[in-house]
C-alpha cells in the first residue's frame, strides 16, 4: 500500500466530504452516499474507488449490499511518520521551554 495513494485520495474536497459522511455514520451503502444533490451516483462511485485505492475506505458485502467503512489507519500512519518520530522531541522541548519561561515570568 503506497502513501501516494493516500495523499491522492485526500487531495480532493469531494472525497474528503465522503470521508466526513462516513465519519458521521459508518457503514453506508453507495445509494446512501449518493444522496447528494450536487453529485451523480457515477461520480460518487469513481471517488469511492480512489478512496479504496488509498485504503481510506474499506468495503464489506452484507447480503446484496456493499457497505463502506472509514479506515483511519493510513492517516494514523502518516501522523506517526512525521509527528511521532521527528517532532515529538522538539515539541516536548518547546513545551518545557514554555513552562520554564512561564515560571520565571511569575
Amino acid at each position: 500500500m503506497s502513501m501516494d495513494a493516500v495523499f491522492k485520495a485526500l487531495a480532493d474536497p469531494t472525497r474528503r466530504e465522503l470521508l466526513d459522511a462516513l465519519r458521521a455514520r459508518n457503514g453506508q451503502t453507495l445509494s446512501e452516499l449518493s444522496e447528494r444533490p450536487d453529485m451523480t451516483r457515477q461520480a460518487v462511485t469513481k471517488h469511492l474507488a480512489i478512496l479504496e485505492d488509498g485504503d481510506l475506505v474499506v468495503t464489506e458485502k452484507r447480503g446484496r449490499e456493499k457497505l463502506h467503512y472509514l479506515n483511519p489507519v493510513p492517516i494514523h500512519e502518516i501522523a506517526d511518520r512525521w509527528i511521532d518520530k521527528f517532532e515529538r522531541g522538539r515539541l516536548g522541548a518547546l513545551a518545557d521551554l514554555k513552562r520554564k519561561l512561564e515560571r520565571e515570568g511569575r
Binding site: 459508518n26 479506515n71 489507519v73 493510513p74
Partner: protein, 148 residues
Amino acid sequence: MSDRFVYVTYIRTTPETLWEHLTKPEFIRVYWHDISAESDWKPGSSWKLIYPDGRVTDTGEIIEAHPPRRLIIKWRNEFRPELKAEGYSRATFLIEPAHETVKLTVTHEIDRAGSKFIEAVSQGWPSVLSSLKSLLETGKPLPRQKAA
C-alpha cells in the same frame, strides 16, 4: 441494527508472525503500550485484557481460532459500567496474504445502535494497529501517545 467498524492495515510480514503477535502476551505488550491479552486461544476458552497495573479491563471468550488466518473474540468491557451494560461485542481478526504483505482486517461490532463501547474502541484501534505494523516492519513499536 448494529454498530461496527472495519479497520485494515497492510503489513510486511508473514501470516504466522502476525498471528504470533496477536496471541502472545510478550508481543502484545510491546505494541499495545503495556496492555496484554491472555488466553490459550482455543474456541470456548476465556480471554482477558490486562492493564499494566494488573487490572482486568475487558473479558470474554474465544469464539473461533484458525491460526494463522482467523480469530474471533467475544469481548466486553468490565471497568466502565455504561460500557459493560452494553453487553458483549465481537472482534474479528482476518489475516490474508496480499502480494508481499499481509492484509489484517479488524472488525469490531456490537448488536446495538449508538454503542458507546464501539465508539471507545474505534478510537484506540488505529493507534494499536499502526504500532503493531511499526513493530513488525521496523522492530520498534511506536512511542506511547500522550493523552491530549
